[in-house]
Symmetry: C2
Subunit: 167 residues, 2 copies
């Protein structure tokens, strides 16, 4: 079981380094990390996925760092979670149709075709990405890149373990 | 102008911290960072977007770090680039139709509707995400989370400035 933390930070040099270093020094296992700017100028959001047993400690330590404005834990049942991946699957003209049929069921988009490969884009819940990958694995995965999970609370749903403090 | 680097790393504690700290210490401006596991057990890929003037220095410094296996620069004309975002836009029942029409043009998916908001998922080229955001900005953006850019070379396209070395 793992937990998703949404961390609002100021766009200052070194803020990502401090978050990553803190987790590394304390031995926290980061399962996924995604970072991007938000709608307020000068702010970014880091989406962190950490292990169950570590979530309280990670939250506590994050609050001690400078340039961290807010840390919210997102309840998986009351939040929207997405991840995007690009995956290149081995497929010759004989198996291409079969591979693309599998992809179609998952709503994956074909974005590149080579002599012996097809490349798909799939944007969905992280678990669906895992399911798709295990289905195409036996054809052979030639290349893969994943974005890490992003998440947002559903409209009107309270966030748990949410705390705020300007530093 | 900015450049996209695809960095293959070993899944060892602190590797992300070392990458982020090196960039921070040397004053490199990370415009975007996404990290996720790949198809080889024990390896992950970090997609970094950095400024034009810094790309050579960043590449050189990355090679000096432990647990970094490969650094490739991806030519934007010969690579597939994607990013996913969740964006909650202010919309009452009167403006909801209008907001959703705009979203439809961009291929954004409605994933949540509240009394005064609509939440969209958009997965596309990073520039398209920026274009969509500037179009819906005047309705009011209530919440936003972005994954950071991921990228992969098109099939058969040579990568530039690519280097490999087990460390």
């Amino acid at each position: 079981m793992h937990h998703t933390l949404s961390v609002t930070v100021q766009d200052k040099p070194g803020v990502l380094a401090r978050v990553a270093s803190m987790c590394s020094l304390r031995g926290f296992n980061i399962r996924s990390l995604a970072v991007g700017p938000i709608h307020h100028a000068g702010l970014s959001k880091i989406t962190l996925v950490v292990d169950d047993v570590e979530v309280e400690q990670v939250t506590k330590q994050l609050h001690k760092l400078v340039n961290i404005l807010k840390v919210s834990e997102l309840d998986p049942n009351e939040s929207l979670e997405r991840e995007v991946m690009l995956v290149r699957v081995s497929a010759d003209p004989g198996t291409r149709r079969e591979v693309r049929d599998t992809a179609e069921v998952f709503g994956a988009t074909t974005i590149d075709v080579g002599a012996n490969s097809v490349t798909f884009e799939l944007c969905d819940h992280p678990q669906r990405l895992t399911d798709f990958l295990s289905l195409v694995a036996h054809y052979g995965v030639l290349d893969l890149v994943k974005s890490g999970r992003i998440a947002m609370a559903r409209d009107g749903k309270a966030k748990t373990r949410s705390t705020a403090g300007e530093q």
